[in-house]
């Protein structure tokens, strides 16, 4: 962070979020999603893709000319994948922004409180057979439970930290629990070399087997998570003044933090469960938005949802196009594309100051 931002809530009126900005961000997301649907390893002409999409609208019947295995590609394979990427991107970006706000730490990340390590351990337990579970969703359920359990433990252990640094003990508990989970996971994988690849592939993120089923699973959690964090935007702005000032202004810091952490974690756990660990989105998108739109969390959280969705759609497009028909793990792409992109934004903004 270059220059210290003026305390936002010190202003009499809270920062507004201009409608035009929302529309602009929405247009970006929509454009990214459309481009992502138009391209894929099955090279179907754009016109046919659009007709196939139109054909899905109720009351519309268009001949899209796609037959056999390709008939389902647009609506049953590509579209759910793009939608899922959008939802996961939105969840991770808002959750990241929410963590950065509640912890007052620019390195806040959706995986800060052990979500990743807990999900990884859950998946490992199932894939190595220590938890007897079968069926297509066993690993997904295990990831969700593991992620949730890890954060509950972290919260229980770390919430009664010292008053002066209310979030430090949470972060430390998160680090400790994550280390413990990773150690157990490494031990289990050491015992079962054959599961390593499966677990690894799972952890690196997976949109290539996404379908509407995953979308239906994650959507309710995503709605709650994004809704709650975005609604708490103003209170989070107040919280940046410090706990005492926030209390004086009528915002309960502990309650706000608990609510926001809970919502962000719920969304992250669901996102991880359906798509694996996708790094970088949660940390970079809110910062990019902050550089473009200023330090108010009212703005950051809403715009991050759009930005994260669009960014992950494009990253996934790259993941399945660059080496087509082979895939690149999505987590690799987000970091590879996201890091330079963020540096460009950071450099141009600071040059303009």
């Amino acid at each position: 962070m270059t220059a210290p931002a003026p305390p936002i809530a010190a202003r009499r009126h809270p920062v507004r979020l201009p409608l035009a900005w929302i529309l602009g961000a929405g247009a970006f997301t929509l454009a990214a999603g459309t481009v992502a649907v138009l391209f894929g390893p099955a090279s179907i002409p754009a016109g046919q893709v659009l007709r196939a999409l139109l054909d899905q609208l109720p009351g519309v019947n268009v001949d899209h000319g796609l037959h056999g295995p390709l008939a389902a590609v647009v609506t049953e394979v590509r579209l759910p994948r793009v939608v899922l990427a959008g939802i996961v991107g939105a969840v991770l970006a808002t959750a990241g922004g929410a963590y950065q706000a509640t912890f007052g730490n620019p390195l806040g990340d959706p995986y800060l409180l052990g979500v990743a390590a807990g999900a990884g351990l859950g998946v490992t337990l199932v894939l190595t057979g220590y938890i007897a579970a079968s069926g297509g969703l066993a690993a997904t359920a295990a990831a969700f439970v593991g992620a949730g359990a890890a954060v509950v433990v972290v919260y229980a252990l770390g919430r009664d930290g010292d008053e002066a640094r209310p979030t430090a003990s949470l972060i430390l508990a998160g680090i400790a629990v994550a280390a413990l989970c990773s150690a157990v996971q490494a031990f289990l994988l050491q015992r079962d070399d054959q599961a390593v690849r499966e677990v690894y592939s799972w952890l690196l993120g997976r949109f290539n087997v996404a379908g509407w089923r995953q979308v239906r699973l994650v959507a309710p959690f995503a709605a709650v998570s994004i809704g709650v964090t975005v609604a708490a935007g103003r209170r989070l702005d107040v919280l940046t003044l410090g706990d005492d000032e926030a209390s004086a202004l009528g915002v309960d810091p502990r309650r706000t933090r608990r609510l926001v952490i809970g919502a962000a974690t719920l969304g992250t756990a669901a996102a991880v469960a359906v798509s694996g660990l996708i790094g970088f989105v949660g940390i970079i998108v809110p910062h990019a938005v902050r550089l473009l739109a200023g330090p108010s969390y009212r703005r950051i959280l809403v715009l991050s949802a759009f930005g994260g969705a669009g960014f992950l759609c494009l990253a996934d497009l790259a993941a399945r196009s660059v080496l087509a028909p082979a895939e690149i793990p999505i987590g690799v792409v987000t970091a590879f594309v996201g890091a330079p992109m963020f540096l460009v934004i950071m450099r141009t903004r600071s040059a303009r100051r």
Binding site: P41, G68, P69, S134, G136, D193, Q194, V209, R320
Partner: protein, 358 residues
């Protein structure tokens, strides 16, 4: 886990400068024996006990009990009498360079399932005292908890092998075993059928079964040709999709298994991905639908192959010709992932599974 791992003895951990090596070796080996004795006395590991009992078993049980005091004479079936005794010391070439084997190995440890199968195919099965946990073929291998991926040098050394075969020099295992005076031969995963058969010959030479191994390799080559001839004439190779895991992990024709399937007149739909994607790329569902393979092979390493109904339930997959026509072939994952003598079985499964597709 091995209980011996916990206290790191100087046996493994201390590295001496290369000059001092030869003098130190003697004392060190004595130390290794002492360390083994101590572990045995302590009665501390099931592993250690296993290691003392197993060597007796193979010499007595499988073949006739005639060879009571048999150092070199190969009483094994396939080996012609001319082969064994004269040869040693022999020098063979592995991935770790030229390896000289002073005398006919009597206590072989294999840390690779493929190499274990080759050892037995060459007729060296009786000399094998321990194999890693995946070496489940042929039946009756002296299975242990050893791992070739995370080799525990001390556990290996405790078995006092005179030859260790392994598919990769992981964690510096070759140097560590060399430090305690144990010869290691590294034969990495084969890239082609020729590679695999060369390795079989190398294994034979290294264990005193050169002629038997060469004969076995030649027989495999003949059988491969015979089986490949059974495949129907096709204008172009038949496109296949081989699924290794539910994340779309597959193989290209450039891999060993792809090489074998190519003999059956098949070509992977992942071949268009190019070399940058590697030999085992991950395909998206869309890519499989777009390619519409003629046959789908399933070789899940965890054994949890999806059923035909599972495949048909994937979005759009019920329209794939392979699914519609029931051309879904389940391969034994062990056979499909090893480069041993059973590559004949792999080719047989591929040819027979696609015989009716034109």
């Amino acid at each position: 886990m091995n209980p011996e791992t916990t206290p790191p003895t100087p046996l493994v951990s201390r590295r001496r400068p290369p000059r001092a090596r030869s003098q130190a070796r003697h004392g060190r080996r004595r130390f290794a024996v002492a360390a083994l004795a101590i572990t045995l006395l302590a009665g501390c590991a099931s592993n250690a006990t296993a290691s003392t009992t197993t060597p007796a078993a193979p010499t007595s049980s499988p073949s006739s009990s005639t060879s009571t005091s048999t150092p070199a004479a190969p009483t094994t079936t396939a080996a012609p009498t001319t082969s064994a005794p004269a040869a040693f010391p022999v020098t063979v070439t592995g991935a770790n360079g030229r390896v000289t084997i002073a005398a006919r190995p009597q206590r072989i440890v294999s840390l690779s399932a493929s190499l274990t199968e080759m050892l037995y195919a060459a007729g060296a099965g009786e000399q094998v005292v321990a194999v890693d946990k995946y070496s489940n073929y042929p039946a009756g291998t002296p299975l242990t908890d050893l791992s070739g991926f995370k080799p525990n040098v001390e556990s290996i050394a405790a078995l006092t092998p005179d030859l260790v075969v392994v598919s990769g020099d992981r964690d510096g295992v070759v140097a560590a075993l060399d430090a305690v005076g144990i010869t290691t031969l590294v034969l990495p995963s084969a890239k082609s059928v020729d590679d695999a058969l060369d390795q079989l010959a190398t294994i034979g030479a290294a264990t005193g079964h050169a002629d038997a191994a060469t004969a076995a390799a030649a027989s495999i080559r003949t059988r491969l040709a015979t089986i490949a001839d059974r495949a129907p004439e096709r204008r172009a190779p038949l496109p296949y999709y081989l699924e290794l895991a539910d994340d779309g992990r597959t193989v290209t024709s450039a891999t060993f298994i792809g090489n074998v399937l190519a003999l059956a007149g098949l070509a992977s739909i992942a071949d268009t991905a190019g070399a940058a994607a590697g030999g085992y790329p991950q395909l998206s569902s869309e890519a499989v639908l777009a390619a519409d393979p003629a046959v789908i092979f399933l070789a899940y390493s965890n054994g949890k192959n999806p059923s035909a109904a599972d495949l048909a339930a994937r979005p759009g997959w019920n329209e794939l010709q392979a699914v519609r026509n029931g051309n879904v072939v389940v391969l034994d994952p062990d056979v499909a992932s090893r480069w041993g003598p059973r590559l004949v079985d792999l080719l047989t499964a591929a040819v027979d599974g696609t015989a009716t597709i034109t």
